[in-house]
């Protein structure tokens, strides 16, 4: 399997939401990260055939998605960032409904729905109306519907929003187990999710691919740039204005700051191992402008 985007662009009015994006991907998990408005959702919606590009092309296994959209949708699982459910339906009814829309054969539909309900641990509430579901339960139903057709191309936009920490970890584990014979594109603001499961990280900014690398390489680039400092309130305030902070924790003996900086920020700063969030912050800092047509 292969997804190829070439010179892909989409503009709204005079602003390019995505501009000159070129990428090639086979099976694996791509972590798509970037600040708000970076173009992640627009890119994913174009790949999911939900949006027509202004320029460039997308091919899935050699077929242009504009002309072979139906074929792509046969193998697509998509979880939008912000989605609604039908409050009149129960969880099971909703999954059966989406399974029908996905064209699952009648003979396997019920079994597949039961499997997905079990997968997201909603069997006990499967008969309850969706209007009674909590945010986390709704998100899990969203995940289940995306997986119903056992997709080769799975696109999930902010899938862990609304999940509690335990659910988030379990969802990450689930995605990691799916990582064979399929391409998963995971967009998220939670860098630790990407760090845990992605084998490729794409950082988008201002509608373009800023960095396309592996988590290991991204971490390597940040080595020697991450520091921790314990400081009083006044010093902490000064450091915040001068450096890129990735964490700030109040301790009994002062405020502990985690700083990304090429140089030692203070005398007592201690060099530490970077995590992916540090590496990400280092990569995207200071870039806020948008491209115009």
């Amino acid at each position: 399997m292969e997804l190829v985007c070439e010179q892909l662009g989409k503009h709204y009015g005079t602003i390019w939401a995505v501009h000159d994006v070129t990428l090639r991907a086979g099976s694996g998990i791509i972590g798509l990260v970037g600040p708000n408005g970076a173009g992640k959702t627009t890119l994913m919606r174009m790949i999911a055939t939900l949006l027509v590009q202004t320029k460039g092309s997308i091919t899935w296994n050699g077929h242009d998605t504009r002309t072979h959209g139906a074929e792509v949708r046969q193998v697509l699982g998509y979880l939008p960032q912000d989605f609604g459910l039908y409050p009149e339906f129960s969880g099971r009814q909703f999954l059966r409904y989406i399974a029908t829309m996905k064209g699952l054969p009648r003979g396997v539909m019920q079994k597949r729905v039961d499997e997905m309900l079990e997968l997201v641990n909603l069997e006990s509430v499967a008969s309850r109306k969706l209007r009674t579901y909590s945010g986390g339960m709704r998100q899990r139903i969203g995940i289940a519907q995306a997986l119903l057709n056992d997709p080769s191309l799975l696109i999930v936009d902010e899938p862990t929003v609304g999940l509690d920490p335990e659910e988030r970890v379990r969802f990450r584990t689930l995605l990691a187990t799916l990582n064979t014979d399929r391409l998963i594109i995971l967009s998220t603001h939670i860098i630790s999710d990407v760090e845990a499961i992605a084998n490729r990280v794409i950082i988008m900014n201002k509608g373009q691919i800023h960095t396309d690398t592996t988590p290991e390489d991204l971490l390597r680039e940040a080595e020697g740039h991450v520091w921790t400092v314990v400081a009083d309130a006044a010093t902490a305030a000064r450091l915040q204005t001068q450096h890129q902070l990735t964490a700030l924790v109040n301790h009994r003996d002062g405020i502990q700051l985690r700083i990304v900086s090429a140089t030692r920020p203070t005398e007592n700063a201690v060099l530490v191992e970077p995590n992916l969030e540090d590496a990400y912050m280092m990569t995207v800092r200071g870039q806020k402008a948008v491209l115009t047509v």
Partner: protein, 326 residues
Amino acid sequence: MISHVTSAKTATSFDMSAHPIRVLAVFSWELRRRLAGRSFWITASMVFVLTLAFMWLGQFKACVELYKGSCVSLAGTSASGILLEMPGLLMLWFAMLVPFLTADLVTLDVKRRTHEILMATPLSKSAYIWGRYLAGLTLCLLLALLILAGTLLMGVALTHFLWLGLDGPSDLVNYPPPNVQAILLVWVISTLPVVFLLSSIGFFFSTLLPASSGFIKALVLVGWLACWMMAEFLFGHFKIAQWDPTNSTLASTFYPDMQKAYFSGISPTMTLDQRQQVLNRVQQNLPDLTNWLLTHALYAALGLVLTTLTVFLFRRFDTTPRWGQK
């Protein structure tokens, strides 16, 4: 919480390509969904109760002759009476409901944000649009059937229970039985084309302009009302009366003939009861409505054409920018 599993690629294997999604599947699921909600049942109850109420209030549609201070009255469920009752009263308000039942069949997916989930499936545009529309149309037809049932029920009740009577002949014998054939024919002419036409107008514009669906519903409602009020002026001429989509000119087209038949059937020596008996006979004569059937079949067909156009013009894509969201 999400359970620990080894893989979501389970033992259940299937061939996706061999199973296109049919209109019937979309239709049956949408119908099921709408019937699972409370709003349809509330609307249905309201339609049925209002039909009974209007039929009861309109049990005597007109005073054909004022004789010694009493009316020789036209019954609401006779052939001539139903020409006045159904298009003139029942369809006026029922038609206003129709766009509210069909305008949001697709639009609500966009508003509720279920649209993207559906459009990311292999569901074709035509199956989606036709399936949704036919489900909405079926709901409208179910409500229209309730109007028919309410009309017939009240007709039977008025014939057999004197206590239901308002101003009119004072004995049970003088209320004519419902003319089932006429009621059915007038229901077909005045209800079905209106349902097809208004449901598709609301559906067409709302689906293509989802952001304006509220405005479109109001516009169809006002347009229908205006058309109904202007119908006599626009379609009052006998030769073109059958083109009146509201049918409010239906009765006035045939009423003079019925009146003429009545006055030629009575004599000056007849009592009020005898005059009522003459009218009861005369008012059951159903005029020839063939031309009305033909023109209204065209209106119904226009509705289907609009829905077909919706399929061609509908875009799977919601072009609203999503950037800047958290």
